[in-house]
């Protein structure tokens, strides 16, 4: 076993020990299909939680999105996101000639699954903030990829914004039924529907 693999197992074990990392699959089974998981975002821990809740064979092909300027700023951060999580890096600064979604599109063309947080930033309200348009563009470009809504519960108590050490509190991730972009559906309507699908997962748990 190589070092990144072992570190990944250790990290998943720690996440389970601290949060339980329960995955509740309500709308769909955990299958090795190409998927985009989209969820509410409250803490840095969110990604680790979803990742630990996935069965181990799905972890290898499911990738997070990481901000390039932050996650490559030190060697350790870069190593963790590159070697353990195989993250897709995006740059936060917009340049005119580059589509910010291009790295994501590239990953989807490779057949990888993605986890995205369409709110764009960590919120601290009970309900997620309005979704950004990226999810819509991805759904438009890749109609064959399943879109799975997920609700992450309790994680804001594990590691509130600004704290470093997590407190052991049980969390769960509830996965809902796949969503599809309807023919001719408006961007705004679709994003609103996706947001409501995430909130609906809260009550399924």
């Amino acid at each position: 076993m190589k070092l990144p693999e072992a570190a990944g197992l250790l990290l998943a074990f720690l996440a389970r020990l601290i949060t339980g990392a329960q995955g509740h699959w309500h709308g769909c089974p955990p299958k090795a299909e190409q998927r985009i998981y989209f969820a509410n975002h409250q803490s840095h821990f969110d990604w680790v939680l979803i990742w630990a809740a996935l069965p181990s064979d799905l972890r290898a092909t499911t990738r997070p999105i990481a901000a390039r300027d932050y996650w490559t700023s030190s060697k350790l951060k870069h190593w963790i996101t590159r070697e353990i999580f195989n993250a897709v890096y995006v740059s936060r600064q917009r340049s005119d000639d580059e589509d910010p979604l291009e790295p994501l599109m590239q990953a989807l063309r490779n057949g990888d699954s993605l986890v995205i947080f369409p709110e764009g930033t960590r919120g601290n309200q009970a309900e997620p903030a309005p979704f950004k348009a990226g999810l819509f563009h991805l759904a438009e470009a890749f109609p064959q990829v399943q879109l799975i809504p997920a609700w992450i519960d309790n994680v804001q108590r594990v590691m509130p914004k600004g704290e470093v050490v997590p407190v052991p509190i049980l969390c769960s991730v509830t996965f809902g039924a796949p969503l599809q972009l309807q023919a001719g559906e408006d961007r705004h309507d679709f994003l609103d529907r996706a947001r409501r699908a995430v909130i609906a997962c809260k009550d399924l748990g």
Binding site: H24, N154, P160, V167, P168, I169, L170, S172, G205
Partner: protein, 322 residues
Amino acid sequence: MGALRDLDVQQQVALLFVVLFGVLMLVTAVAIARSVRELSPEQQERFDRFVRDLRATWLGAVLFWIAWVAGALVSTLLFGVLSFLALREFLTLTHTRRGDHRSLLLAFFIVLPLQYVLVGQRLFDLFTVFIPVYVFLAIPVISALGNDPKRFLERTAKIQWGIMVCIYGMSHAPALLLLDPPRHEDRGAFLVLFLVAVVAAAQIVQESVGRRLRSRPAARHISRSFSWRGWFIGVAAAALLGALLYWATPFKPVAALLLGALAGGSGTLGELVMKALKRDAGVRSWGGKASVTGAVGLLDRVAALCFAAPVFFHVVRWHFGW
């Protein structure tokens, strides 16, 4: 039963485990035989619950056996892990706020390990007062420094309670294990077994009597099954079992009878208190089928023990002057 008293410790332990696992296997065999019969939905539900309880008992028995085989250090660690899991379940359903983050870290990563180190070192005098005296001061101080006055008393009280039940109470089980009674060395494990057995007997008898007698609940809004008559019968059963087990303990028969009644009684009352806490949190059990959080319901199983163990430990130490 005097003959049993003359056996050496190893033989007594072997005998107890043979009896324990024998009874469990018998019950399991009966359960398997019954599982092939057709049942009405209501009976099915009761049967499923019984199977869950049975599985938990098996797990508990095997854990206890491992603790015995592996010695004091491993069993202290084992109870430490149980403490951690129980506290995690307790705090999941407790309302805390951001300002409590540091207090929770203190509880999990400093208080819990320290308490078990104190047990392991057999520093029983400090062990008894560490949480009620020092942690009782430290937790609210850290919470106050969190700079959030909203529902302050309620939040700190709940954290303090979680620590008392899940860490303080639970840590008394390995303390009994390590309490070397003079002239009865190596009998600590019997004390734990005695405690677990009488508390379980009181709970089981009270529960089944309560279902059959249908007598008036003592606190209807908290528990429909708890009645004083059922409680007394449960205590009597615990006392009887305690007296029957006297040969394995350092106690005389009458002392074993009284200690059995005391432990069984405080355990079942502790269970009632936990029911009140669950009602307050708005759940029927800390885990199991309808759990939102994925808790396994460990706290449901160990709560009675957590209440009975400190009382039992204190009375034994105080009465016998160990």
